[in-house]
């Protein structure tokens, strides 16, 4: 990649990752409104809007963050499995995306219940989205912190690769 394209890819990764974090924060707010509001239409509306909003915002941002992250890692000297902080970010991203996809069925179920006029409001209210959004927010904050601080520490694979590279360079310089 040219420096210009690399910068564009980094911008895409930062935007999608931080955007995902912001979207999850908005979902947490929505989930709290659904759980605590006294107004019946607001409660039902909160659970009705979660599913389409998740498909339109959360899922695309999660995949964009994962894909742009993979591009970043594989195109740089950091690699994907060489440094613990990159590996942890990958695991967090994959875990959060997997849980999000599994949770789409719950969004659908909650929306269906909220759409039933006969359903009691206490049955419509659900603590589950608050719990999931709060945990997702925590995970994404950890991932963002790792990306900013880049704490030291190479995996055994990374150390082996580093030694191989040094040996290659030494051999080339002795020729």
């Amino acid at each position: 990649m040219t420096p210009r394209v690399r910068k564009l890819a980094l911008t895409a990764h930062v935007v999608s990752s931080v955007g995902w974090l912001g979207a999850v924060a908005a979902f947490l707010a929505l989930a709290i409104v659904g759980l605590t509001s006294e107004d019946a239409e607001t409660v039902r509306g909160a659970y009705l809007v979660m599913e389409p909003a998740a498909w339109l915002i959360l899922v695309p941002l999660a995949f964009a963050s994962l894909l742009t992250g993979l591009v970043q890692a594989l195109d740089s000297t950091w690699g994907l499995f060489r440094h613990y902080w990159v590996l942890f970010k990958l695991l967090i991203n994959v875990a959060a995306t997997t849980v999000l996809l599994a949770y789409m069925a719950t969004f659908e179920s909650m929306a269906s219940l909220a759409a039933r006029p006969s359903a009691d409001l206490d049955a419509v209210r659900n603590f589950s989205p608050v719990l999931h959004a709060a945990l997702a927010l925590l995970l994404l904050l950890v991932a963002t912190t790792l990306a900013v601080y880049k704490p030291r520490g190479m995996t055994p694979y990374g150390r082996r690769k580093q030694l191989e590279q040094r040996a290659t360079l030494r051999a080339e310089s002795q020729r």
């Binding site: 599994a102 909650m110 269906s112 219940l113 049955a123 659900n126 603590f127 520490g153 150390r159």
Partner: protein, 67 residues
């Protein structure tokens, strides 16, 4: 061994702490998934009515009141 090599040798303390925290958080979730119905489907943490794909936290007498 240079200073830089010393810094990268072995597993850093923050990695061990992260691993331990992840283990403490992940193991109960895995146990709950195995002990429960499995999967991460609707209503795992729901308090809603039953008969709608929900695992209800309410007693049967309460949940049957729903129309």
């Amino acid at each position: 061994m240079t200073e830089k090599e010393n810094e990268t040798a072995g597993t850093p303390r923050w990695v061990k702490v992260f691993g331990l925290v992840a283990l403490v958080l992940v193991v109960p979730i895995v146990v709950m998934l195995i002990a429960g119905r499995g999967g991460h489907g609707p209503g795992r943490h729901a308090t809603g009515i039953d008969g709608f794909g929900y695992e209800t936290g309410l007693p049967p007498a309460v949940t049957r009141q729903q129309p």
